[in-house]
């Protein structure tokens, strides 16, 4: 019998999705509505972490050209702030449609430069679009409020939200599409202008998205892209016309950004690192719990601030939890994220891989028992990729380095505790406070966890507590410096100032 011819060859393609391009050349900056070459001659290679091949080069722009971008954004602001909110929102409707049309390309470029699995990239693209959708509702979100006779009889009082000027974001490598969208759509919809500095490790996704921003027709200077490194970041924080900075990255750098912006009298929201605990109670639904936790610990190869790090087994669930978790972890397929059957991609770089291997070595030296060792994993067809397989330690104690420090890789530390109080104490012993989750069928236990745990994001039977675009996102303690979080109404508050008007007519 002959073979059935499939309607489209796409079935075969979808096992190994095509790359959007093999090489992206030297990236450009987008300033004042134009693509321009960076003044700087300094270039850095962009690698595909699954292959270690160079797929593009990013310019390390200078402070001088960053200042020029700020001045251009300031000039654009004068007109943009007088553009009615309903008109501003229309650009976002257009951008949203363009992003839907180019959804697959945006997702695949993320995989190429970051390494995450294609479904994770699709989820990220969706998150970026959702922020555009929410920001497009600026006409409602930005409304002020009025109280008749609010000051006295015949004297009305109202509060108006006003844009402030130029804002900027400094983004990390782990979510090349989404993270700038936690901020800039809200800022621009509110009538501010904006500069994005993507991570120099993953600048191509934003480069591609800026083609869509250009096509959407935003006026020149309203949204700008400056590629580079710390020189660009410092220039943005130094320039007096920049009114505020949104940062996501490690805690030491977040703290630096917070201090520097405060010194320069800027608004700032600086998101830092994490060490998230997932607490498993004896009454949990174990099969669903393990399935959910696997994606928290190993999704995005552990390179996200909401990733699980410490697996906290409460009481007698320990043995069965350990066995089921190992069984599940062994089934994770590691490889190039453009292979549709892959569950977990490589780490971002050789440096990241070496750092995580160092943590694994430290765990062994400090006496933890290595149950799953992801080092030296061989991935067929990708001998040079920065892969580490699912890794798991048992007999981890809270004082060990691997239990305390942010590893940012696919390494799980299994810690045993006697009861919920001990689990919460363990969470609170960390300087971080980004996220924590509990797996239980007990309402009282879940309620106590939610009430007592000092983290910005709490999961109840959810291991990746990623706030939707219409909810605020940030952590507590050393995971966040600032007050107003990203996304939603918090973003509107961050990007506007309140002006009170008291009116009396004679």
């Amino acid at each position: 019998m002959a073979k059935l011819k499939v309607a489209s060859e796409r079935v075969d393609d979808r096992q190994q999705l095509p790359e959007v391009k093999k090489h992206y050349g030297v990236l450009k900056n987008y300033v004042n509505g134009e693509w321009i070459n960076a003044e700087s001659s300094k270039l850095e290679n962009i690698e595909n972490p699954a292959t270690a091949e160079v797929i593009g080069q990013v310019p390390l722009s200078t402070a001088h050209e960053t200042f020029k971008a700020v001045e251009s954004a300031q000039e654009a602001w004068l007109e943009w702030r007088e553009t009615p909110p309903i008109s501003r929102s229309r650009y976002f409707f257009k951008l949203r449609e363009l992003m839907e049309q180019h959804f697959e390309d945006i997702s695949r470029i993320q995989v190429q430069e970051h390494g995450k699995a294609i479904d994770e990239a699709r989820g990220e693209t969706r998150r970026a679009i959702e922020n555009v959708e929410v920001a497009a509702g600026v006409t409602s979100l930005m409304m002020g409020y009025t109280l008749e006779d609010g000051a006295a009889a015949g004297i009305d009082e109202e509060a108006i939200r006003s844009p402030l000027g130029v804002f900027a974001s400094i983004s990390p490598f782990n979510f090349p599409a989404m993270i700038p969208f936690w901020f800039w759509p809200y800022a621009v919809a509110c009538g501010n202008t904006y500069i994005i500095k993507p991570s120099k490790q993953v600048p191509m996704t934003q480069q591609y998205i800026f083609e869509l921003i250009h096509e959407a027709g935003f006026p020149p200077g309203v949204v700008n892209l400056v590629n580079g490194s710390h020189e660009v970041a410092d220039a943005l924080m130094d320039h007096p016309l920049v009114k505020g900075i949104s940062f996501v990255g490690s805690t030491p750098v977040a703290h630096y950004v917070y201090r520097k912006c405060a010194e320069n009298r800027k608004r700032v929201q600086a998101q830092g690192g994490a060490k998230n605990s997932l607490v498993v109670m004896p009454d949990c639904v174990l099969n669903r719990t393990v399935a959910n936790m696997l994606s928290s610990f190993y999704g995005c190869t552990g390179q996200r601030c909401l990733a699980g790090a410490n697996l906290v087994a409460v009481g007698d669930i320990y043995q069965e939890l350990k066995e089921r978790f190992i069984e599940g972890a062994k089934r994770i397929k590691v490889g190039y994220g453009l292979d549709e059957t892959v569950n977990m991609g490589p780490l971002i770089s050789g440096d990241a891989k070496r750092k995580i291997e160092g943590y694994i070595e430290t765990g062994v030296k400090e006496g933890a028992k290595l149950l799953l060792d992801g080092r030296n994993i061989k991935v067929d067809g990708y001998p040079n990729g920065y892969f580490i397989g699912p890794t798991m330690f048992d007999d981890v104690t809270p004082d060990m380095t691997i239990a305390k420090e942010e590893i940012f890789g696919p390494v799980v530390s299994l810690i045993r505790v006697k009861n919920l109080d001990e689990a919460i104490d363990l969470i609170h012993s960390s300087p971080f406070g980004n996220a924590a989750s509990i797996y239980t069928q007990s309402g009282p236990a879940a309620r106590e966890f939610r009430y007592r745990v000092q983290c910005g994001n709490i999961g109840i039977n959810i291991g990746v507590v990623a706030a939707m675009a219409y909810f605020p996102f940030a952590g507590y303690k050393d995971s966040f410096f600032g007050d107003l979080h990203g996304q939603g109404q918090d973003a509107i508050n961050f990007f506007t100032d309140r002006k009170v008007v008291i009116t009396r007519w004679f």
């Binding site: 019998m1 011819k5 979808r14 959804f103 399935a291 397929k333 892959v342 569950n343 990746v464």
Partner: protein, 149 residues
């Protein structure tokens, strides 16, 4: 023969959709191919069109519904339950083509029914879509059975 892409070791919502897309693609191929051999059988190109639209609906579902919170492992599906033949049927007698098509529709019915049950706690919207697709598979079996051989 099984579909070229079956479930990976860990099944997730993403891999369910991916498998569904391949089922639909296979159905489109079967109906398009056989409608050329049997141009007088009006139901064949119509069914090809039905499955083409279902393919688009599934792509749209993946694009709009998939996020990291629902990318957790699903272990309850056994891929051996959904194997379909992909051998070519061009030139086969009509009754063989219809038999193959009915098997494909029945396997799809089973796959979507099971997936709807599993997706219910992950994503109710996707579960509803799977239920509707299964219902149409059932209707398609009726259509195929009504074709005179």
């Amino acid at each position: 023969m099984v579909l070229k892409s079956s479930f990976p070791e860990i099944t997730t919502f993403g891999s369910l959709i991916r498998f569904a897309l391949e089922l639909e693609n296979t159905a489109v191929g079967l109906y398009e191919g056989s409608s050329k051999t049997y141009p007088d059988v009006a139901a064949l190109p119509l069914l090809a069109g039905v499955h083409r639209k279902r393919f688009q609906l599934l792509e749209q579902t993946r694009q709009q519904k998939l996020n990291e919170m629902i990318l957790e492992a699903i272990h309850e599906l056994n891929r051996n339950d959904y194997l379909v033949e992909t051998d070519e049927v061009n030139g086969s007698p009509l009754h063989e083509v219809l038999k193959r098509a009915i098997t494909l529709e029945e396997q799809s019915f089973k796959f979507y029914g099971d997936s709807a049950r599993l997706a219910k706690s992950l994503l109710a919207e996707a579960s509803r879509i799977f239920q509707k697709l299964a219902k149409v598979n059932g209707e398609n079996v009726g259509t195929l059975n009504a074709i005179p051989v």
